[in-house]
């Protein structure tokens, strides 16, 4: 076994910050694929992606709880919190990039890779970062030269580090309990929020995240008997649901699942504001969306920093963002040869978010103020 890269509370905090970046980084790709699906079509696929996206929100919340429990300060507003797509995953997986792309076999392929089980080729959790890797996306936040094969391994490292540090620092869990998000504030399909107050609950929270992503001990279900994300996406690949008794090595044997790859808006992959016609109404709508999206992250940030009840408001925000994404995606993107527009998830510049820049931001600002 290789030597741990987490030696003290600071290391842990760095890792947990990175975990939040990581959990969030998967959300824009899932949302883009989900909302590219034509309304009232592809129900099976839409549900699968939607739920995974909601559960990534749960994971984000769980990491925030662990981070708060050890006295850290979640930060969702710093400039590098949202990656610029295409991107590598922040844990350093380098054999694939994550795009914002419409629902397609390629998208499903990427989703499977994002959620793939912890099975590093040579059994090593940490691997040397390849020389071609972009340096900005570091892997281990404490060892620049190391990276992880999968999210599972990344969490395994944190779990191990947490145990090491907890043994050394008896007052590791010194966070203010009032900063914890409780189950009342967030419940979704799979799993409940775990309140973190000690090593035990911290481990449960982190293990839950890892299991929900990739399954438990190589099985396809997690402890709650929910299908792990990886296998949910595999169902899209096979066009069939898994059922109890299926093994990870075989194709699923449950009910059929219908996919219509054509009932999808052909959105431009990794669209940027620069792709939009300058000064167009559409560009303004895309800028407004970004402003709302970052305001949403700001709200989450406040919620995770002592105002957990704001998570209820954050849900309204998500629903409003949904309407915004839908509106953008259904607009053709002029000059793109028939492709459609897509939200760009770029951090607004001062000019974009100037008050009264448009009706949209005005509404958003008012909604926050209330």
């Amino acid at each position: 076994m290789i030597e741990t890269t987490i030696n003290d509370r600071d290391d842990l905090i760095k890792y947990l910050h990175k975990a939040m970046v990581l959990e969030h980084a998967t959300i824009p790709p899932y949302l883009t694929a989900y909302y590219s699906i034509h309304p009232t079509t592809n129900s099976d696929a839409a549900h699968i992606i939607r739920v995974v996206a909601v559960e990534e929100m749960l994971h984000l919340t769980l990491v925030a709880n662990v981070l708060n429990a050890i006295g850290g300060t979640p930060d969702l507003t710093r400039p590098d919190f949202v990656p610029s797509y295409p991107t590598y995953l922040p844990d350093g997986e380098r054999d694939f990039v994550v795009d914002l792309r419409p629902f397609s076999p390629e998208a499903v392929e990427t989703f499977c890779k994002i959620e793939r089980p912890a099975l590093a080729p040579d059994g090593a959790r940490l691997m040397p970062a390849s020389s071609t890797a972009t340096p900005s996306l570091v892997t281990s936040p404490t060892r620049e030269e190391m990276r992880f094969y999968s999210i599972g391994e990344f969490y395994a490292e944190i779990i191990e580090g947490l145990q090491v540090v907890a043994a050394q620092e008896p007052d590791l869990f010194c966070g203010d309990p009032a900063r914890q998000v409780r189950p009342e504030y967030f419940y979704s399909g799979g799993g409940q929020v775990i309140v973190v107050s000690d090593l035990n609950s911290a481990l449960r929270a982190l293990e839950f995240i890892a299991e929900q992503g990739e399954g438990l001990d190589g099985g396809i279900y997690d402890k709650e008997e929910e299908l792990a994300h990886y296998y949910r996406f595999r169902q899209l690949h096979f066009g069939r649901y898994y059922q109890k008794g299926d093994s990870p090595h075989d194709a699923p044997s449950g009910p059929r699942l219908d996919i219509d790859w054509d009932a999808v808006y052909p959105v431009k992959v990794n669209a940027k504001l620069a792709d939009y016609p300058v000064d167009s109404e559409l560009a303004q709508v895309a800028r407004d969306f970004n402003a709302e999206y970052f305001a949403f992250l700001g709200l989450l940030d406040t919620a995770f920093n002592g105002k957990p009840s704001l998570l209820l408001d954050a849900i309204w925000y998500m629903f409003r963002l949904r309407d915004g994404i839908n509106r953008i995606i259904r607009n053709p993107l002029p000059g793109s040869g028939g492709l459609h527009a897509a939200p760009t998830f770029e951090m607004p510049t001062a000019v974009d978010s100037a008050p009264g820049a448009s009706r949209g931001t005005d509404e958003a600002a008012r909604a926050v103020a209330r």
Binding site: L312, N331, P332, E363, A367
Partner: protein, 173 residues
């Protein structure tokens, strides 16, 4: 369907609905709606309606500037809303955008201009009901879709200020 007709249809619809082009395209239904009007009223009527709208805009614009709202209103009333053949169709286009439903044209209309096979009241697609602009106009969601989230109903409706005309409610709620 020529792209020009779609552009003209959008331009007409912006004036009829007071929603922006991106909002209309954002329903994902502009094409289907144009096709629906064609199927229900016939190609000639649609062409005449789009032409009348172009003419109204030209009439309302002084020397190629943006049309003056008051003059445009008058031109639309004279050229479209009061027109025997075009008036009912234009009103139906408004309702189509707002409700997502094509309402059957009044019998006087079909008596004079003939009934097309697709003329009866119908929803265009299952999605069209959800995309009705009516719901956005009153800051609500179409019942059964686009939910606003738990408890959002306890806050005042996010109706745009310009429609509240000072009757603005206590926003501190």
């Amino acid at each position: 369907m020529t792209p020009d007709a779609l552009e003209d249809f959008l331009s007409l619809s912006v004036d009829l609905t007071a929603f922006e082009r991106t909002d209309l395209l954002g329903t994902g239904l502009a094409r289907q709606y144009l096709a629906k009007v064609r199927d229900a009223c016939g190609e000639d009527v649609v062409t005449a309606l789009l032409e009348a709208h172009r003419a109204a805009r030209t009439e309302a614009a002084e020397d190629g500037a943006r049309p003056d709202p008051q003059r445009l209103d008058r031109a639309l009333r004279h050229r479209i809303f009061s027109e025997e053949r075009l008036g009912p169709v234009a009103r139906n286009v408004i309702k189509l955008w707002y409700a997502g439903t094509w309402y059957g044209l009044p019998p006087e209309w079909t008596d004079s201009y003939g009934a097309q096979p697709a003329a009866e009241t119908s929803t265009v697609t299952a999605a069209s009901y959800q995309e009705g602009l009516l719901w956005r106009a009153i800051a609500a969601n179409p019942p059964g879709a686009k939910a606003p989230g738990y408890g959002a109903w306890a806050r005042p409706p996010a109706i745009e200020d310009r429609y509240l005309k000072g009757r603005s409610h206590d926003r501190t709620g």
